[in-house]
Symmetry: C2
DNA sequence: TTTTCATATGAGCATTTGTTCATACGTTCA
DNA sequence: TGAACGTATGAACAAATGCTCATATGAAAA
């Protein structure tokens, strides 16, 4: 059987059109993967809490840990993920490392999310 | 030891201020949980692909499955999650069930995500 | 009523994920 | 140099997640 063989939904559907239209608009696999990875980062309440801390100030790791009442290790692991996604950036100052938001998309995305759940 | 005892970061930090400021702005636990749950839904490329299909039209389940070349069961499971998050809505027409986007937040959030990764 | 088609759903399994624990790395100060 | 502090990281384990398979539900046609 060919890949796109259609076995179901004989009546109501417009496969040929739809598949072509969708494929024309669908981002490529890499972008879809990156998109999912990005939202996965927002999909954990510890990381969201970290972002809310960084909404207020540039903060060092142990202060984030103290503020959220979590271990330094747990916070550090999550900061690494946030940094890999370019949602936060860091700056070393002596023994401490200060983290801050990387750009405005973070606030916008969180704000849109809050908008959605307030309904 | 009390919950908020501070053991680290003696020099650079402004715990008292920070903790109070952050707590004033931090959403309550329920909202943080809901926020994370919402973004978790966006954090899977199958569900994102489904949303891109629904960007184009109101579509029945088997058409989504055909378009994305996945099983009806897999799509149905994911549609349930999308519906629970109120990102999509459904309408039965005879034997078929047609799904569509629930509101504009979906497009906005996806658009912001794409903005972010294009850098 | 009995098939047939479209969709929904529970169980099972493999994979992913977040935290903890131990420890390594990097910097400052004595 | 060595000790102390702040941070990073790998391994391990429990919990969550996405797909498959089998089957149930709902609606239309025979």
């Amino acid at each position: 059987m060919a890949i796109n063989d259609v076995e179901h939904c004989d009546q109501h559907c417009r496969h040929e059109d739809l598949i072509q239209i969708v494929n024309a608009q669908m981002p490529d696999e890499d972008e879809l993967y990156d998109l999912a990875e990005l939202f996965k980062v927002f999909g954990d309440s510890t990381r969201i809490r970290i972002l809310f801390v960084l909404f207020e100030a540039e903060v060092c790791v142990c202060d984030i840990a103290d503020t959220l009442n979590m271990t330094q290790s747990a916070i550090s692991h999550q900061l690494k993920i946030l940094k890999q996604s370019k949602l936060v950036k860091s700056r070393r100052e002596g023994k401490s490392v200060f983290y801050s938001l990387a750009d405005g998309h973070v606030r916008t995305i969180i704000a849109q999310g809050r908008d959605h759940i307030e309904e």
